[in-house]
Subunit: 269 residues, 2 copies
């Protein structure tokens, strides 16, 4: 989905750090940076990245998330990477035999938002591509976060797990209530204009013999009005519809002298 | 995040179809299939895929989401791909000059869940990698869906956009309340055992002269009890703590004859 607006400034609001423990592929560091940037995270920390840092493949895969890539910090150990944080969650897809609370992304994000809102530093630990986090690393965290995946197909790549957490963070913070655009619809017309359309339409239908029997007319009118009432028509759309009615009505009028019976049938179908 | 449990059966519950319009790279079809599988979607439809179908790169990128890949259907036009659906949302990252409601993922998923719950078919349209959906395609949809991305960095790859929508679908449906595992914590001990710990600890502290002055004792006791009360201790953990207290206490007892003053100071620190 293209759509980046390069005229807009990036914001660096307080938000959770993302800590990747011994990432193996530079490409995954890059796609992680991109996923973070999509939802406004920017503090990426690497513990002992296998392919070193900086890494060309990471930069290529980041798709111009330069503001994240430029701020990457590298640490030798998890302890150093999280030293300044006071709330740390460890992500894992497997049950571990560790006495920690287990949160889903929603509850984890609520906790992160609350903690960061009071000025605390917070971070999310992600493990190696092949085998995740070691128990020693998880033991440093306050709680475990896991995603509500299909148990029979639970394997997510790191950038995807980061994307979900970044999305939940943003969704539940103030930012998340703001879509990049909205209101594709023009305002709905005042009821007076809708009633004008109804009057115009029903007068035309009456005159052209649409309502075969008077006793069925009220029900038919209600059903026809329902179609247009639920469409949320704008003033412009009402004008367009009235123009359409008039146009068809004039055709009917024009044709009446020559072949009135056929025209009557056509209009009442 | 590894963690797929291959012993579990896959489920094919009614869920939204994902329709990719003219995907250019087979790899993106594969990563889309994987993202769908993570959150339990399985109906993937392709409109006129550039590299044809089946596609080796798609299969490789799907990371064994075979149950999705095997069910892929290919159509010549969007109209044919959505012919059986009665609710269709078009995803786009850019504002379009089309009279359609614009939903975020949450509201879109609520609508999808409601619609599918009443037996209707529903689908999500995704556009080409480079320029998204054409307006003619969007005009076939009931509404537009866009993600609450950072406007200054809004570019998501298709699989990531699909992942967010699949996650929201699952999060808000019944399935989403079930994490693949939970309850990392043993049950909290009955209060009686916690009180036993407090009694044991405070008796030991009293005996070893920890509380220097009697007037400060109640406040100190409250503060110490608070530490252990908020830890949510299990029965096993309480036994461990009491063992630790006894062990230190015995060391203290053993040392008392030889160097009682130094031991007293050490214990009361």
């Amino acid at each position: 989905m293209a759509g980046t607006d390069k005229s807009l400034d990036l914001t660096f609001l307080p938000s959770p750090a993302v800590i990747l423990c011994e990432p193996q592929l530079g490409e995954n560091v890059g796609t992680t940076a991109r996923a973070m940037a999509n939802f406004g995270l920017w503090d990426l920390r690497l513990v002992n990245p296998r392919d070193g840092w900086p890494n060309e493949r990471a930069i290529a895969a980041a798709s111009r998330a330069d503001h994240v890539i430029e701020r990457v910090r590298v640490f030798a150990t998890v302890e150093e990477a999280i030293a300044d944080l006071s709330l740390v969650f460890a992500t894992t897809a497997r049950r571990r035999d560790i006495q920690k609370p287990v949160f889903g992304p929603e509850q984890a994000s609520q906790n992160l938002i609350g903690h960061i809102g009071t000025g605390g530093g917070a971070g999310l630990l992600f493990g190696r591509e092949r085998w995740g986090l070691y128990n020693e690393e998880i033991s440093l965290a306050d709680a475990i976060v896991t995603l509500p995946v299909e148990a029979a197909f639970a394997s997510l790549n790191i950038a995807q797990a980061v994307l979900i957490m970044a999305y939940e963070w943003r969704r539940q913070s103030d930012l998340g209530s703001t879509l990049p655009f909205s209101g594709g619809l023009d305002p709905t017309a005042p009821r007076e204009e809708l009633m004008g359309l109804f009057g115009h339409l029903e007068e035309t239908l009456d005159r052209t013999g649409f309502f075969k029997t008077e006793d069925k007319r009220p029900t038919m009118v209600h059903n026809i009005r329902a179609i247009f009432a639920r469409a949320g028509l704008s003033s412009q759309e009402i004008r367009t519809l009235r123009g359409m009615i008039s146009s068809i009505d004039r055709k009917h009028e024009r044709q009446r002298p020559g072949r009135s019976t056929a025209a009557d049938e056509e209009t009442s179908e």
